[in-house]
Symmetry: D2
Subunit: 246 residues, 4 copies
Amino acid sequence: MTDAEDAGTAEVVFRSDVTVELVKCSAEDSDVLFAARVSTKGEQSLEDVHADPSRSTGLINYLLRDRHGSPFEHSTLTYYVQAPIFVFRELMRHRVASYNEESGRYRELRPVFYVPGEDRRLVQEGKPGAYRFVEGSPGQHKTVTQATRRACLEAYAAYREMLEAGVAREVARGVLPVCTYSSMYATMNARALMNFLSLRTRRDNAQFASYPQREIEMVAERMEEEWARVMPLTHAAFDANGRVAP
Amino acid sequence: MTDAEDAGTAEVVFRSDVTVELVKCSAEDSDVLFAARVSTKGEQSLEDVHADPSRSTGLINYLLRDRHGSPFEHSTLTYYVQAPIFVFRELMRHRVASYNEESGRYRELRPVFYVPGEDRRLVQEGKPGAYRFVEGSPGQHKTVTQATRRACLEAYAAYREMLEAGVAREVARGVLPVCTYSSMYATMNARALMNFLSLRTRRDNAQFASYPQREIEMVAERMEEEWARVMPLTHAAFDANGRVAP
Amino acid sequence: MTDAEDAGTAEVVFRSDVTVELVKCSAEDSDVLFAARVSTKGEQSLEDVHADPSRSTGLINYLLRDRHGSPFEHSTLTYYVQAPIFVFRELMRHRVASYNEESGRYRELRPVFYVPGEDRRLVQEGKPGAYRFVEGSPGQHKTVTQATRRACLEAYAAYREMLEAGVAREVARGVLPVCTYSSMYATMNARALMNFLSLRTRRDNAQFASYPQREIEMVAERMEEEWARVMPLTHAAFDANGRVAP
Amino acid sequence: MTDAEDAGTAEVVFRSDVTVELVKCSAEDSDVLFAARVSTKGEQSLEDVHADPSRSTGLINYLLRDRHGSPFEHSTLTYYVQAPIFVFRELMRHRVASYNEESGRYRELRPVFYVPGEDRRLVQEGKPGAYRFVEGSPGQHKTVTQATRRACLEAYAAYREMLEAGVAREVARGVLPVCTYSSMYATMNARALMNFLSLRTRRDNAQFASYPQREIEMVAERMEEEWARVMPLTHAAFDANGRVAP
C-alpha cells in the first residue's frame, strides 16, 4: 500500500492505509463487573468477579442497555496510531482521552503522505449530515492521485528549502499538507472508546446514524478489533445494543 | 482501631482509620517516557523506553518542573477505598477520575462509623484557608467519642426501624450520618493523582500551601505510598519539584 | 412545607422540598445556531443567527436527533440549589459541571433537615435498576417522620455539644445526617444539562429508561423548567427526540 | 497585513495575523465572589457580592495565590477565532473548552494562507523545551515568503482541480497546507482560560516557563486582552501571582 519516490535527499512515501497498534492495555470484562457490583456488594465485589460467567454477561448487557456508563471507566487502552493530520484533527476532538503526538516543532517531519487508495469512494452525494459516497471513475482516481502527489512533492520541496536555509521547523512546516502522516499515542477507557466508536463508525445496526469520514473510520475499525479481543463480552453487548455509548 | 458494639440484630462498628488498596494498576515510569518521546522520536519512542536510565530520570524531572502534563496520563491506577462519606464527598469533587461507589439505594448500609482517634487534632485555630489544628484535651476527646457514638447509635436505630417497617432503603438512609463508612473504586491516571495529592496532602516542601481535612489526607497518604512503589522516578520528581501537578 | 422546632439555642427546621433558582444565565437557542453553522458558513454564521426561524427549528431538531452535541456547549446556566446532602452526592457525580458548595469546615451548618413529604412514595418494589415505588401506609409515613425527626434532633444536639466544647466544625459535623440541607452553585452548559436531565428524570417518552431517586428528580424538574424558558426550541427538540443527550 | 493574488477563479489571500473576537460573554469578577463565598456564607453569598470592593480584591487574590480554582468556573467566554490550522491543532489540545469549527467536509475551504510577517523571528536556537528565537536574515524572510506562497498556490490549484473533477471536498482538502486559515468558536470559563494563557504566553513574570509557538501566542494575547477588560480584578491577580492557573 505504500509507494516511494525520490525527492532529492529524502525518499517521499505515499500511503493509503493507517497503522493502529494496541501497545498497552489494562482492560478486561471483569473490570466492569467489580466496578458495577460495588454498588450492591460493597467490599465483596472484587472476590465475586469470576463467580458466575452467565450472570456476568447479563450484567454487562443490562449496563449497556440502560446506559450505566461509569463501570466501563475502570479500564485503559493505549493505542499507537499513524494517520494523516486531518484524521488526528478529528480524533483529538474527543476530549475524554489522553494524547501525545509527534511534534512539528521538535523534529523534522518525514515525507509520508496519504493518497486515497483504489477502494476509496471519491464522490459525495446528498447533503451535510447525511452524505453518501459512491465510486469515483478511473479518471477521477487518476486526477486525485496525480494532483495529490504533485502538491505533496511541491510542499515537501518547499519545506526542505526553508529548513536548508536555516529556518525553524515550526515555521517551515506551515506548507505541509493535512494529508501528511503523524504518529501518536492515544489512551482512553472503554467508555470513551465506545463513544468514539459510536460516532466514528457507520453501521446498519447502530441506533443513531453516523457519517464519519472514511479515513477516521479506518482507524476506528482497527481500534475496535483490538478492543473486541480484550473485552469480548463488553464488545458483544455494545454491538447488540445499537452501538450506543453508555 | 475498630471497636464493635451490639445494637440489636446488627453489630455496630466504630473505626478511626481508612482502607486504601491498589487493586489494579497499569502504571510505570516508562509510560511517561514513551509518551514524551513520541514528540521528538515518532515511531521509535516505544523501543527507546528502556534505553538510558539516567536520561529517563532527567526527562521526567524536566517534564514535572516545566509542567508538561500530558505524558503522565498514559497510566492508570484503581484504588479500593473505605472511608467516611464526608471524605468521599471531597474525593468526588476531583472530576478527572472514575468512581463507582456502594449504593444506599441498592443495598442496606452496614453500621460502620468513623470516630476520631486519639491522635486526631480536634481544635481549629486561624481563619478559613489557613487553619491550624492543635491537640484536643482529654475532655474534648471524651466529648467527641461519646457524642459521636450516641448519635450514630440513634441514627442507626432509626434507620433499622424504618427498614423494618418496610420503608425503602433510599428513604431510610437519610438519617445516617456523614461519618458512615462507604466503599468505592476510584480509577485515575498519574497526572490526576498528582493533582489530587497536591491538594489533599499538607507538606512543608509543597510550593503551594494546602490545608486538607486530616481524614482525606489519610486516604491521600496511602494512595501516595502505593503510587510511589510503582512509579518511583515520577514520585521522586513530583516531590522534588514542589509537589505541583504538571 | 417547612416546620420548625426549638432545639435549645437554634431553631431546627424540617423541610420536604428543594430550592432551585437560575441565578445567572447566558443561554439562548441562537447559541446553538451560530455554533452549528460555523461548520458550513464559517465567518458568516453569527450574522445568520436570526435569519430564518423555521430553518432554525429544523436545524436544532436535526442536531439532537443525530446526536451532534458540541453546538449545545456554547451556553451556560448557573443554578443556586438547596437540597439534602444525599442529593448533592448524586448531583456531583456529573463531572461536566462546576460546583461550589457551602462548607462544613468553614462554617457552622444550620439545622435544616429533609423529611419526606406526604406525597413521597415510601415503598420500593422490584429489583436494582428497575425499582418501582408505591404509596406508603399512614403508619409508614408516621414511622418515617418520627424516626427522622428524632434522629436529626439527636444528631444536631451532638453537633452543638461538640462545638460548644471547642471542637472543630469539621470534626463535629461527622454526626450530621445525609438529609441535612446544603447549598451550592452549579454551572453547566446545555449539553451537560441534557445529560443530567436524561439520567435524573423519569419520563414515559424517554428512549432510555432512568430510575432516579425522587429527591434528585425534584431538583432536575425545577432545572428543566428554568431551562425550557430560556431555550424553548432546544428543550422542545430534546423532549421530542426521546430525551437523549446529544 | 493581507495580500491577494489571482489564482484563476478564486482570489488567494496571504495573511500574517489572526482574528480574535469576544462574541459572547458572561464573565465578571463578581462571579468569582458569589461562588467563593457560598462556602462560608451559604445562601447569603449572592446578596453579598457587591458589598465591599476592597475585600473582593483580597479574596480573588487569595484564591489565585493558594490555587482554589473552582470559583473561577462560573463564568463563560465565547471567542470567534480565525487562525491557521496548525494553531487550531494546538488550541484544541486544551480539553476543558468547547469548540465548533468550520468543516472541510461540509464546505469548500477558502484560499487564505498564513505567511510569517516581517516581525516573525525565524531562527530557532537551543533545545527542545527551551527554544529561543532570533531574527531571520532578509534572505531567510525572502525564502520563507516565496516558498510558502509557491507551495500554497500549488496546493490550492490541486484542490480546485480535484473539486472541478467532481471529487468530494473531504478528499480534495488533503493537499491543503496546515497554514490554511480556518475559523471557529471557542467557549471556556475563566479557569480554563487561565490555564490556556499560562501555557500559551511567554512572560518574564511567569512562575513556570512556557515556550509557545508565536502564532498561538498571538491568539492567546488577544484573548487575554478581551478577558482583562471584563474581569479586571481576576486578570490583575492572575498576573500578579505568577500567571499560574488556579
